[in-house]
């Protein structure tokens, strides 16, 4: 138990740090995916099966892919020649450390930090389903709406505006992946690296 936890934490934190510190953006993205996977594993260890799998499905399966695509579309694929750390990095680090310190202080000073877990709760998936459909049905609807809006908005924002580049209407179809793919084809005619 402890060992597994230690391994998972080490993996997660290491890959998270790598994700924000590596030079090559694609590596960053991959490490990010790894960190997400580690987090999912932590969820599983905490007995939140559904959330864990959802985490993998959404983050590793979708968000990481999105990030990768964005990186390639913004030609971040090759390692940046210029320094990747912004000029005011000292201040940034300082702020981060400050926040960390404050958080730890808050945590350690809180009473329930040393609480032990109660006996494992029963399988929660069916329960989650019921709750989603009954108590949380309104938030669920809202989230559905949000996701739809986000899909449409994202595809419209990222779409090559039709007038300029893609005269044919069907390639500006209701899907970024389509436009996306074509754009890759355009942007990566020349071998990169």
């Amino acid at each position: 138990m402890q060992i597994a936890f230690a391994i998972l934490v080490a993996l997660t934190l290491a890959s998270a740090i790598a994700a924000v510190s590596l030079r090559n953006l694609v590596h960053c993205a991959l490490c990010l995916a790894l960190a997400f996977a580690g987090l999912a594993a932590l969820y599983l260890q905490l007995g939140a099966q559904f959330v864990g799998f959802a985490q993998i499905l959404v983050y590793v399966g979708a968000v990481a892919i999105l990030v990768v695509f964005a990186i390639l579309l913004t030609r971040g694929g090759e390692s940046a020649p210029q320094p990747v750390i912004s000029r005011s990095w000292v201040a940034g680090i300082a702020v981060a450390v400050l926040v960390f310190g404050v958080l730890t202080k808050a945590m350690l000073s809180s009473s329930l930090a040393h609480r032990e877990p109660p006996p494992k709760p029963g399988p929660a998936v069916r329960e989650i389903g019921n709750q989603l459909m009954t108590r949380y049905v309104l938030p669920l609807e809202a989230v559905g709406l949000l996701l739809t809006a986000a899909t449409i908005g994202a595809s419209i924002i990222a779409m090559q505006d039709a007038g300029r580049k893609q005269p044919d209407p069907q390639s500006v179809a209701s899907k970024p992946a389509n436009a996306r793919l074509r754009r890759d084809a355009e942007e990566f005619e020349t071998p990169t690296g």
Partner: protein, 103 residues
């Protein structure tokens, strides 16, 4: 058995790592990655508190995480689309050169 504040520490570290990334990297996408990490740290907190709460039958924490995951996905999609649009507009993802809104 692992006490709660291990998880809290982990999430704190994760949060500050994300914050540091968001604060120090030049590339907009990296900033977004940092933000995602911060979000996940928060999620970890929720799950941990749910698991360690006196009655885990009340699955509010998990619910919260589920919704936040969904929202994070949407946020990532829109954010990345915005970054792409910005890149197409001014040919850079370097945040320090995107300061046309300065006073």
């Amino acid at each position: 058995m692992i006490p709660l504040y291990y998880y809290l520490m982990v999430s704190a570290v994760l949060f500050s790592v994300g914050l540091a990334g968001a604060l120090t990297r030049r590339n907009a996408i990296l900033v977004l990655i940092g933000v995602e990490l911060m979000l996940n740290a928060a999620n970890l907190n929720f799950i941990a508190f749910w698991r360690y709460s006196p009655n885990p039958e009340a699955i509010t924490g998990m619910m919260f995480v589920i919704f936040s995951i969904a929202i994070a996905a949407a946020e990532a999609a829109v954010g990345l689309a915005l970054i792409i649009a910005i890149y197409r507009h001014c040919k850079t993802t370097n945040l320090e050169r995107m300061d046309s809104l300065k006073g």
